[in-house]
């Protein structure tokens, strides 16, 4: 496919599979490379100072992306009421996080905080990008450590206005604005309108 600038690019197939990938059998070297890559892309969740798993958790707020993480830093988190109890270490093409807990807002990190006065309240700031193949692992390893009875989860995230599908043009919309998605089990009042069709949510918030 020729682009506007005259270069030729291979358009990604909507089928989701490359022809070569489909036809070729995996050689032992391919398998080895694939395993090494999988190991490199493993998500490690390191907890500290917590009770043996699964531990009790009543409320879990997850802020995904720099904006949502900054919101928590500006309005909720402080060093008096909250303590760091966990960190996620991962690597992908877009970012690498470490196990350091004293981070700058411009770093890529994924940290967990607990409210000192009520240790069942947990916050997560995830400013790093969690790749497609790592999202499920992140989910299982984080939620696998907590009791899910009576747990209320709130996910905060942002999306570009240009991605919002609406009848009128997005130029005329008053932004920023809030939209929500909720499960049937969530019975409380939602503070903003629900996300209309045909809009969807992707990546870690969706997972």
């Amino acid at each position: 496919m020729a682009t506007f600038f005259g270069e030729v690019v291979v358009a990604p197939s909507r089928a989701g599979l490359d022809e070569e990938e489909e036809e070729r059998e995996e050689t032992p070297e391919d398998r080895q490379i694939r395993r090494e890559l999988e190991k490199k892309r493993e998500v490690d969740v390191l907890w500290s100072g917590l009770a043996p798993e699964p531990w009790a958790c009543s409320r879990f707020v997850v802020a995904i992306g720099r904006n949502a993480a900054a919101f928590l830093s500006s309005f909720i988190l402080d060093s008096v009421c909250w303590e760091v109890v966990g960190v996620v270490r991962l690597w992908n093409e877009w970012c690498r996080t470490s196990s350091a807990t004293n981070v700058l807002p411009t770093d890529s990190f994924c940290l967990f905080y607990r409210l000192i006065s009520d240790p069942t309240v947990l916050l997560c700031q995830c400013s790093c990008y969690v790749a497609e193949d790592q999202q499920f692992q992140w989910l299982e390893k984080v939620f696998g450590s907590m009791q899910k009875e009576g747990l209320q989860v709130t996910i905060l995230s942002t999306c570009p206005l240009a991605d919002y599908k609406t009848q009128e043009s997005t130029l005329t919309l008053a932004s920023p604005f809030l939209k929500a998605l909720k499960t049937k089990e969530f019975q409380e009042q939602v503070c903003c309108p629900l996300l209309e069709q045909p809009n969807i949510v992707r990546d870690l918030p969706a997972a």
């Binding site: 919002y164 997005t170 629900l194 918030p205």
Partner: protein
């Protein structure tokens, strides 16, 4: 992998023995998936469960088949199962692509679920790149079918009566005349893998596909779903006139704005 919704139907709601499973392959133009959307929307099918899988890219949104305020707030994710017991039909809808290297485990898990649930047969709706057709395929109908040997015995005769065309095999090494003929479905995603695995596992599977290109694939979806209807008779065919054929299918509300938002008035 399959997680049933607890709707009070209990185990009866997930008893699929003897049913037909209809599913799409994520393929060129997403034609299979669009056709499945039409089936679910028209037949007003109820969700009976979903797949909890790490093989598909995650996504979530509100009910794509919403018809009113009241039914628009149910969450919907990337792989969901709907059922219509009166027609012994179960439909799987897949809404996102495969994560790299995960399509094989997904196919294995899917076929294992198919066998375990004792479906009578599986029908896969798919598509293939139109530009890969040979000279003969450029003429005539763009629709093709495939049947596994077990299903061929049951419905092969019906396909002859319907005057359907079987998908042609191609030379394994194009240009060399003496080579074996193999099945090749470019742009078909997991279609070929599902079909070949079903042949070897004795699963009764049919593939219905259309040759198409990327673009506005809504008309392709209508053509494919009408093709399916010739066989399964899911909705009454209003008339034999093909221009009327789109009226019996209900377009879901989620198909709005497929090609972008409204334009800013300041542009003009």
């Amino acid at each position: 992998m399959f997680v049933p919704c607890d709707r009070g139907g209990g185990s009866a709601a997930s008893d699929f023995k003897g049913f037909t499973l209809l599913m799409p392959a994520v393929s060129v133009g997403n034609v299979g998936q669009l056709a499945i959307d039409l089936v679910i929307s028209t037949l007003d099918m109820s969700k009976v469960g979903y797949f909890y899988t790490d093989c598909l890219v995650p996504m979530v949104g509100n009910n794509p088949y919403a018809t009113a305020e009241e039914n628009s707030t149910e969450l919907s994710i990337n792989a969901e199962v709907y059922s219509l017991p009166s027609k012994k039909l179960v439909v799987l809808q897949i809404r996102s692509p495969f994560i790299k290297n995960k399509y094989r485990p997904f196919c294995e898990a899917l076929l294992s679920w198919v066998k375990g649930s004792r479906y009578a047969r599986v029908v896969v709706l798919s598509s293939s790149h139109a530009y890969q057709r040979d000279d003969e395929q450029l003429l005539g109908t763009p629709l093709r079918y495939l049947l596994t040997p077990d299903l061929e015995k049951a419905v092969g005769g019906l396909m002859q009566e319907l005057n359907w065309k079987e998908m042609e095999k191609v030379a394994a090494y194009p240009g060399i005349s003496d080579t074996d003929k193999v099945l090749h479905i470019p742009g078909g995603g997991i279609t070929k893998l599902l079909f070949t695995e079903s042949c070897s596992k004795g699963i009764q599977m049919a593939v219905l596909l259309k040759f198409c290109s990327e673009g506005d694939n809504i008309p392709d979806a209508f053509v494919l779903v009408n093709y399916l209807n010739e066989w399964l008779q899911l909705v009454k065919s209003e008339s034999n006139n093909s221009t009327d054929s789109s009226s019996q299918w209900k377009i879901p509300s989620s198909w709005r704005l497929l090609f972008g938002n409204g334009l800013p008035p300041a542009l003009f």
